[in-house]
């Protein structure tokens, strides 16, 4: 598939009623369908669900979609999910753009008309942007298999022991002359009244 001819699929998520209660989702779908390069424009109850992801993958295969826009929640949540879905259908995962119409629209706006307008603008912006995306490749780097723990209280000691028991070297750094931290200062601990050292 040549990447210089965008064929864009747009998917508007209802997020149950989290988005659709405020945003007129069919109106956003209609608007997106009319945008340049948009080949498919759909809505679905949960785009992050398996059927939602399969819908995207099927459109990639059947309609030659080479750019994807999902309008749903924050990319912090599901951007990796959808990138994986693209990769699963053989598309470069960076041919993807997300419009946040939940945290930035339906959860933030009371007025349905204003919300729908904002959602449409965000989707249109994402469509315009995704058309310019280039394929990118994530790089892989080896990991130095040793850990630094800053602080030798009960938290640091516990983490150090678990990592060390898993077979990896640990540097446990403590500012005081001894490890033990606050817990070593305690005389018995609630609720069992057992010793703290």
């Amino acid at each position: 598939m040549k990447s210089d001819e965008p064929r864009i699929g747009v998917y508007i998520c209802e997020c149950g009623i989290n988005i659709s209660a405020t945003v007129d989702v069919p109106a956003v779908v209609e608007m997106a369908a009319a945008l340049p390069h948009v080949v498919v424009s759909r809505q679905y109850k949960y785009m992050c669900s398996e059927p939602g992801q399969e819908m995207i993958q099927q459109d990639i295969r059947e309609h030659g979609i080479n750019r994807v826009v999902v309008a749903s929640c924050t990319p912090r949540m599901h951007e990796p999910t959808f990138r994986r879905a693209l990769a699963g259908a053989g598309l470069n995962p960076y041919f993807f753009e997300m419009a946040n119409i939940r945290e930035h629209v339906s959860w933030a706006v009371r007025d349905s008309e204003a919300g729908t307008d904002k959602a449409q603008r965000l989707v249109r912006a994402a469509v315009a942007r995704v058309a310019h995306h280039q394929p990118l490749e994530a790089r892989r780097e080896p990991v130095e298999q040793a850990a630094l723990i800053v602080g030798g209280g009960i938290a640091g000691i516990q983490a150090a022991l678990s990592i060390a028991d898993a077979g990896y070297p640990v540097y446990l750094v403590e500012r005081e002359p001894s490890i033990g931290g606050r817990m070593a200062q305690l005389d018995k601990t609630f609720p069992t009244l057992d010793c703290s050292i």
Binding site: A164, R175, I197
Partner: protein
């Protein structure tokens, strides 16, 4: 504690501090300063003779929480790991006045080394766990509790040292004049849940206060008055412990203690409102224990800078997600464990630390990390080598190459775009955030909608 000291995979670096961290997930370079103990660890047998003979006594404000004394050469407590003393050079008679050297004369193995210098140690690690804990909030900031005006007004942590068998009184709960107290008041929420101090709940004070009530009652038979707002006995077997303490005959007063007055005879008058009775109450006691708040360490901002951490408005280190990533941080490969992220009790701390350890082990087992390709790239043809980008890059990811042109280390670059905006020649592009992409996006936001005639028809919902 003992296990950590003996584990073959753990290098214990006590009396040490992290000075510098550079690099990125999977590949951090760390510089650690090992402060001079003034004791040769290879020769010291931990016999303790030096501490016995040392003539200089110092108020123990660290481990002892101000409830006892230590020597100028000391191990903080008898089960210390490692069992190697340090010389506190600020208080040691030899270091301050140039003579004494009693410890050197006493030491049977010749381990005392006044000339010892700090050592710098460079290590390479793939992951970092920040477990720097909490500090105790200073109750003198709320003067109505008279903290500091009587030796018999102490904090919960000071009570721990008073009640501990390794403390100055050998575990006897006594007032400053050595008498067993007849009446003791425990005040919850001092500095916590208070708009004048910390708004948050310090979370474990209710339970340790109940434990203190039990210990006072058990060891001294004193009447105990426990002033609380809400009893937060939320953990497993905690409510049952609360009931047990109630049955032991502790008097609970529902309402925050409002004031502690030091009377002319040295007694302490605690005043408050009993919300259940709907009236003001006052009780004269011999000992007051303030369940004072916990707060972020005073050097939390330095640690945050060092490790690339954010902080929540209350000052604790910020986790990557409050529910789904409670140990992750804004910096890949850096994890949080324990109270540095927020107040938590021992069982929750152990669980949190276990989760942090699993994240580290998961990373190590994968063996490699994925580096995002959304980084900055320099067009060498346009770069004039002015170096502005090198100065503004927050991650130290840009350097001049052999041709004097800027070059981005893709492994260090976080794709923030600062250099793109800085470059006077427009020679830097952020991949995935090119000018073209951003301008198209802005146009998309601002354009009025196309009219029907202009549109083509795409496939709609099925």
């Amino acid at each position: 504690m003992m296990d950590a000291g003996r584990h073959p995979n753990i290098t214990l670096l006590t009396y040490s501090e992290v000075e510098e961290i550079s690099g990125y997930v999977g590949n951090f370079a760390v510089r650690i300063r090992q402060r001079a103990r003034s004791v040769n660890a290879d020769l010291c047998t931990g016999c303790g003779l030096c501490q016995e003979k040392c003539p200089k006594k110092v108020l123990d404000t660290a481990f002892g929480a101000g409830m006892g004394q230590r020597k100028a050469i000391y191990t903080p407590f008898s089960q210390a790991i490692p069992n190697i003393p340090v010389i506190d050079r600020e208080n040691c008679t030899f270091f301050t006045r140039g003579k004494c050297k009693l410890c050197e004369k006493t030491c049977p193995t010749g381990a005392i080394d006044y000339e010892q210098q700090d050592k710098l140690l460079d290590v390479a690690v793939g992951a970092i766990v920040v477990a720097t804990g909490f500090a105790m909030w200073d109750p003198t900031l709320l003067p109505q509790y008279s903290y500091g005006l009587s030796p018999n007004i102490i904090t919960g942590l000071q009570f721990e040292r008073l009640s501990s068998a390794t403390g100055a009184t050998g575990g006897e709960i006594v007032t400053a004049d050595g008498e067993k107290p007849k009446r003791v008041a425990i005040l919850h929420c001092i500095g916590s849940r208070d708009h004048h101090a910390h708004e948050y709940c310090s979370r474990f004070c209710c339970m340790y206060s109940l434990k203190h009530a039990h210990q006072v009652h058990d060891k001294t038979g004193a009447e105990v008055y426990d002033f609380y707002m809400d009893m937060r006995a939320f953990g497993k077997a905690y409510e049952e412990f609360y009931e047990r303490v109630q049955e032991e005959g502790i008097t609970f007063v529902r309402g925050r203690g409002a004031e502690v007055e030091v009377l002319a005879d040295g007694k302490l008058r605690v005043k408050g409102e009993d919300a259940d009775l709907g009236r003001l109450v006052a009780v004269d006691v011999d000992l007051v224990i303030l369940a004072s708040a916990v707060e972020p360490q005073p050097d939390a901002s330095r640690v945050a800078f060092l490790c690339g951490l954010g902080r929540t408005p209350d000052g604790w280190f910020a986790e990557a997600h409050p529910k789904l990533q409670p140990v992750g941080t804004a910096t890949a490969g850096v994890f949080l464990a324990g109270c540095c992220q927020g107040p938590r009790d021992v069982p929750d701390t152990v669980a949190h630390a276990g989760a942090a350890a699993l994240e580290v082990v998961r990373l190590f087992n994968q063996g490699e990390v994925t580096i995002s390709p959304t980084v900055a790239v320099v067009d060498a043809a346009q770069c004039v080598g002015c170096g502005e980008c090198i100065l503004t890059c927050p991650y130290g990811a840009i350097a001049r190459n052999a041709d004097g042109k800027a070059e981005v280390n893709a492994a260090l670059c976080m794709g923030c775009g600062t250099c793109v905006a800085t470059c006077p020649s427009g020679a830097i592009t952020a991949l995935h955030f090119t000018d073209q992409e951003i301008v198209a996006q802005i146009d998309g936001l601002l354009q009025e909608f196309a009219t029907v005639q202009d549109t083509h028809y795409a496939i709609r919902n099925t």
